[in-house]
Amino acid sequence: MVSKIAIVGDGLSALITTATLAKALMRLPAVEITLIESNPCQRHNVISSSPTLQDFHQYLGIDAEQFRTVVNNSYNLGLHFRGWSSAQQDYVHSFGHSGEMIDAVEFHHYITRLKRQKPDLKLEFFSPGAVAARQGRFLPPTEESRSPLSKIIYTLNLDEFDYCNFLRNYALAKGVKVVQASVTDVIVDNDNGFIRTLSLSNGTSINAEFFFDCSGSAAYLLGEKLAVPYISWERYLPFDRRMDCFSSNPGRQVSVSSTFSSTTAVSAESINSNTTSLLNLVTRMDAGFRKRLYIPGLCCEQFYYHSDFASDEQVFSLQQHHLSEKKETEDGHRKKVIALKPGYRQQFWANNCLAVGSAAGFVGDTIISAAHLAQSAVLRWLRLFPDRNCHSLLRTEYNRVTLQEYEHVRDCHALPFLCATDNSSSFWRQVAQVQWPESLTYRVTLFRKTGTLAFYEGQSLTPQTWIALLLGFEIQPHHYDVLADDVSLHVLESHMAKRMKAIGDYVKQLPVIRS
C-alpha cells in the first residue's frame, strides 16, 4: 500500500487533506505523512463552508461544541443574493429543504400554480432556514429535536487562521510530521514519471510514494513538474481577481452599497432591509460581485472582479469610499488581492500526484464552498485507495468523477451570471454574450419550459437545491406538473397558509443571534 505520503501547500486545502489522511491512515502501521508548509497562514481571514462541514468533522471525530470554542466562527444559514436576475432580486438561498412533496408532487409545482394568483409568493417562504435567517434567529438543532421545522441545515463561517491551526494540531496529534520549508527541487523517476523526492529549503529531502499538490493555482508539482495543463473556464466564471477587505468592527446592521460606480444596480433601500449576520450577502456590482462574510470581531468583504474591467486601485478606492461613508474606525483595516483562475487541471490525478484545492481548479466558492471540494477530493481518493503503482484505471476513474463534480459546481456558480439582466456596464455586456455550457443551458431551458429538473450525474447539489436556485434567480416555469392541479385552490391556499404560519411560529420563538 501507499504508506509514505507528502502534502505540499500552505492553505486550507493542504490542512483539510492532511487531517483527512491522518484520520484515515495514521492508525495503520508504517504510515508516514508529512506536511510541507512554506508560509503558513498568518492572518485572520474569514472563509465560508458548506453544510458537509459537519459530516466532515464527524468523520474526523471532532467534538462540535469544543470546536466552536477553539475556532472563531459564526452560524451561517445560507446566502443572500441581491440584484442579479433583476434590480429587485432579493433571494435567500438556504441549505435545507423548502417544502415537502404533496401527493407525490414536488412542492415547487404548487408555487408555480399559485403564483398565477399571488405573484409575490416565493418558495423561500417555505424554507424554515430562510425565514429564520432573515429574522436573525437561530438555534442549532439537537439530536432530540423532533419537529421537522427545527432541522434547519446550517454551516459555519470560520476564521481561516484558527481553522488551519486547529486542523494542523489535529494532524500533529495523530502523528503527522509538519515541516516548515519550501520545496526547492522535485526529483522525478525517468521511467514512469512518478515523483520520488522533494528537496527542501532547509537542506533536507523527503521521499514519498504519493504526493498531494495543495500548492495553490501554481500547482508546483502537478502543473509545473508533471506539466499537466490547466483548462480555463474564465468565460463561464468571469473573474480573475478577488480583493479581500477586512474591517474589525462589523455591526450587525452594516449597510452595504453595491457598485463601484454611480450606476447603482440596487437601490439603497432594498439593500438595507433584512440581511443578517446569519447570511453571507452576495451582491452583483458593475464589474463583478461582492460577497460579505462575518465572524465575531471580523468582517470580510470579498470583491470578485475581472482585471480587464476594473483595476485593483479602482476596487480599493471604492472600498475606502464605502468605509468612510460608514464612518467606521480604521483599526485593523487591511486588504489582500488574490489572483483567481477559474478552470480545472486536465488531470486531477497524474502518476503518483493528486491536486487538491486551487491546484486542482477553481470553480467558485459561493453556493458550494471550495472547502467542500477539498474534502470531497480526499475522501474520493481514499475510496479508490491505490497501491504504490497507482493503477492508471484508478486515476481515470478519479478524474472522470471529479470532472463531473467540477462541471456541476461550475454550472451552479455560472447560473447567477447567466441570469443577470442588467447590461449597463461593459463587463455585464460581455457576460451577456457568453455561450454557456450546454449542461447549464439545457437545465435552465428545461426548467423554464416545464418546471422539471434535468438529471445529471455527479450532483453536489440536491435536486431541491437546484430548484430553489433556479426559482431564486427568477426563472419562472411556464408549466407545472399537471397533478398539482388535483388539489382544489381553496385547500391548497389554506395548506400553504398553515405551513407559513407554522414556520413563522417556530421561528418567532428562536433566539436572536447577535454578531
Binding site: 500500500m1 501507499v2 484515515a24 491512515l25 495503520l28 502501521p29 508504517a30 407525490a104 481514499l382 475510496r383 479508490l384 485507495f385 491505490p386 497501491d387 493503477h391 484505471l393 484508478l394 481515470t396 476513474e397 431551458t445 428545461l446 419550459k449 416545464t450 422539471t452 434535468a454 438529471f455 450525474e457 455527479g458 450532483q459 411556464h478 408549466h479 406538473d481 399537471v482 397533478l483 392541479d485 388535483d486
Partner: protein, 525 residues
C-alpha cells in the same frame, strides 16, 4: 395549435405495458377528466409464462393503491429475493444468487468485498453469498418481510415478486375499466396524421370505428405500430452485444419447495429461466437463432422441465435494442415498442413502470412542448444504457464452454462430442463498448466498482455478477494488508454466523404462501 389540456388518450395494445399504463393513468390523472381508450386486438389464448419483477413494482402498486395481499392472490404471485444464475462462470456447475440486498457491512469506509477478497487469498472464507442474508435465505427457501428497523440485520434486503403476467394484466384491466378506461377490441387498419406536423390524430379500426386522440401510447409490442410503422422513429440494434433473438416458453407444475428466487441457467446458445408461481412454474429458453434451431431450443427446454409441460410451447422473436425516440410527436412508446432488453435481470416490467412514471411527471398539454419529450428520451436512454451494460457483463464474463456441460444432456443429441459452444465463444470474445470496458477493467485490476447515483443496478449488483462469475480482481484495497488477520477472520466468522442464524429463523416461503392462500380463501368466503 391553441394550448389546451390533453383530453383523449389512446393506448394501443393490451399486454402488461398497455394495462399498466391504462391503470396508472386512470388513477393518477383521474381529476383531469381525460378519456382513456385502450385498443386491443383479439388474442389467441396467452400462455401464463410468469414474469419476474424487481422490488420497484411494490411502489407502483402502492401508488395505485393496490393492496399487496390482493395483488398476491390475484396474480398467483410468489416472493422473490433474487435471481440464481446457474453455470454462468466460475467453476462448472456452480451457481450464484444476485440478491436484492447487500453483502456484509462497510467497515472503516472500505466496502465489504475487499475484506472478502483479502481473506479469500488465505483460503479462509466462505462464498461471498454466505455474507448476504437474502442469498442465504433464498437457498433455504425461506422468506420474511424485511424489518423496518434499520439496525436489524433483517433490514439488509428488499424483495420483489414472481407474477403471472397475464393475470396481472387482467387484474389491471378490471382496475382500469372500473376507473373509466374504455376497452376497445379491434385491429388498427389506418393511422391518420396531421398533414402539417405529422401528429397522430385518429386510428381507424377494422370495424370502421374511428378513435381520436391527443396523446397516443404505443404498447403494440416489438413492431411498434405507431412509433415505428407510422412515425419511423428508428431502432438502434444491440444484437451485436446481446445476440439472443428468440425465446420459447412453456409452463410446468408447481415447485413444491417454492424457491423464493428466479433461476437462470445457461444453455448451449442462451439461457433458460424458471419462475416459480403459486399455480405453476413458468419456464422459458432465450436463445440465439444463429446458433440453435427452434426445435433444438424447445427440446433443451422440455428435457429440463420439472415435470410435464402444461401447455403448448409459445415461441417469441425479438431484436435487442432500443427505439431511437421513445417519445416522438404525440406518441410515447412504452414496453416492447420502446425497445427490448432480454429478461435476464427481470427489467421488462420495471422499464414499463419507469416510462409511465416519467410520462406522468412530464405530462404535456396539447402543444406537446418538445422539452418534455427530449428529457423523457434522454433520461430513459440513460437508464436503458446502464441496464444494457449490466446485461452484457453476464454474457461477457461467462466462460467459453459454460453452456456445454450443463446437466441437460440426458437424451440430448446436441454436439455431444464437442466441448465448445460457438455462441459462448462469441460472447466471451466480444469487443466491449468503452463504458463497460472501463467498468470491467477497473474492477479486474483494483476491485473498485464504478458507481453512479441513478440507475437500477448499483454496487452490490455488480459485485454479485463479477464475483459470481469468477471475475476476481487482481487486487483489493491495499490498506487491508495492514489489518490484523486473525481479528478479521473472527469478524467474518461472526458475521457469517449471524446471517446463518437470521436466515434459519425465517419461515419457509412455502408456508408463507400457504397461510396467505388460507387467508385469501377466508376473505373470499
Amino acid at each position: 395549435m391553441p394550448e389546451g389540456n390533453i383530453v383523449n388518450i389512446v393506448i394501443l395494445g393490451g399486454g402488461s405495458a398497455g394495462w399498466m399504463t391504462a391503470a396508472a393513468l386512470s388513477q393518477l390523472l383521474k381529476k383531469r377528466n381525460c378519456h382513456i381508450t385502450l385498443i386491443e386486438s383479439e388474442r389467441i389464448g396467452t400462455v401464463g409464462v410468469g414474469e419476474a419483477t424487481l422490488p420497484h413494482l411494490r411502489f407502483f402498486n402502492q401508488r395505485l393503491g393496490i393492496a399487496e395481499a390482493e395483488f398476491m392472490h390475484r396474480t398467483q404471485a410468489t416472493y422473490k429475493l433474487g435471481i440464481e444464475f446457474v453455470n454462468w462462470g466460475g467453476a462448472q456447475g456452480q451457481a450464484y444468487i444476485h440478491p436484492f440486498g447487500d453483502y456484509g457491512l462497510r467497515f472503516n469506509d472500505i466496502s465489504f468485498h475487499h475484506y472478502w477478497l483479502k481473506l479469500r487469498r488465505t483460503g479462509a472464507t466462505a462464498p461471498i453469498g454466505d455474507y448476504s442474508l437474502p442469498v442465504v435465505a433464498a437457498k433455504l427457501n425461506r422468506f420474511q418481510y424485511p424489518s423496518t428497523n434499520s439496525r436489524s440485520i433483517l433490514s439488509s434486503y428488499s424483495y420483489a415478486y414472481h407474477v403471472d403476467a397475464s393475470l396481472y394484466a387482467q387484474y389491471l384491466r378490471e382496475y382500469a375499466c372500473a376507473r373509466g378506461v374504455v376497452h376497445c377490441i379491434g385491429e388498427v387498419t389506418h393511422v391518420h396524421q396531421h398533414p402539417d406536423n405529422g401528429f397522430i390524430e385518429t386510428l381507424t379500426l377494422n370495424d370502421g370505428r374511428n378513435i381520436n386522440g391527443d396523446l397516443f401510447i404505443d404498447c403494440s409490442g416489438f413492431r411498434g405500430l405507431l412509433i415505428e410503422q407510422t412515425l419511423k422513429a428508428g431502432y438502434e440494434d444491440w444484437s451485436r452485444y446481446l445476440p439472443c433473438d428468440r425465446a420459447v416458453a412453456v409452463p410446468s407444475p408447481v415447485l413444491r419447495q417454492a424457491p423464493p428466487y428466479t433461476r437462470a441457467t445457461t444453455s448451449l446458445a442462451g439461457w433458460r429461466w424458471r419462475i416459480p408461481l403459486r399455480h405453476r412454474t413458468g419456464n422459458g429458453h432465450v436463445y440465439c437463432s444463429a446458433y440453435l434451431s427452434d426445435d433444438e431450443a424447445l427440446q433443451l427446454l422440455l428435457t429440463n422441465l420439472n415435470g410435464e409441460a402444461m401447455a403448448e410451447p409459445l415461441f417469441l422473436r425479438f431484436n435487442t435494442g432500443r427505439r431511437k425516440s421513445m417519445w416522438l410527436k404525440n406518441c410515447v412508446a412504452i414496453g416492447l415498442s420502446a425497445g427490448f432488453l432480454e429478461p435476464l435481470e427481470s427489467t421488462g416490467i420495471h422499464l414499463i413502470q419507469l416510462a409511465i412514471m416519467k410520462l406522468i411527471e412530464y405530462f404535456p398539454n396539447s402543444v406537446m412542448e418538445s422539452a418534455y419529450s427530449t428529457e423523457f428520451n434522454r433520461s430513459m436512454n440513460m437508464e436503458i444504457e446502464r441496464i444494457k451494460d449490466f446485461l452484457v457483463l453476464h454474457y461477457y464474463a461467462c466462460e467459453e464452454n459454460c453452456g456445454v456441460n450443463t446437466p441437460n444432456s440426458h437424451g440430448s443429441t446436441l454436439n455431444p462430442q464437442t466441448k465448445e459452444s460457438p455462441f459462448w465463444q462469441y460472447c466471451h470474445n466480444l469487443t466491449l463498448e468503452d463504458r463497460l470496458r472501463h467498468k470491467i477493467d477497473l474492477f479486474s485490476a483494483t476491485g473498485h466498482v464504478v458507481n453512479y447515483m441513478e440507475g437500477l443496478f448499483l454496487e452490490p449488483s455488480w459485485i454479485a455478477v463479477y464475483l459470481g462469475q469468477g471475475l476476481l480482481p487482481h487486487s483489493y484495497d491495499s490498506r487491508l494488508d495492514c489489518c490484523n488477520q486473525a481479528q478479521l477472520q473472527a469478524q467474518m466468522r461472526a458475521l457469517h454466523q449471524s446471517i446463518a442464524n437470521a436466515a434459519a429463523s425465517m419461515p419457509l416461503h412455502r408456508q408463507i404462501l400457504l397461510s396467505e392462500t388460507d387467508e385469501g380463501h377466508r376473505h373470499g368466503e
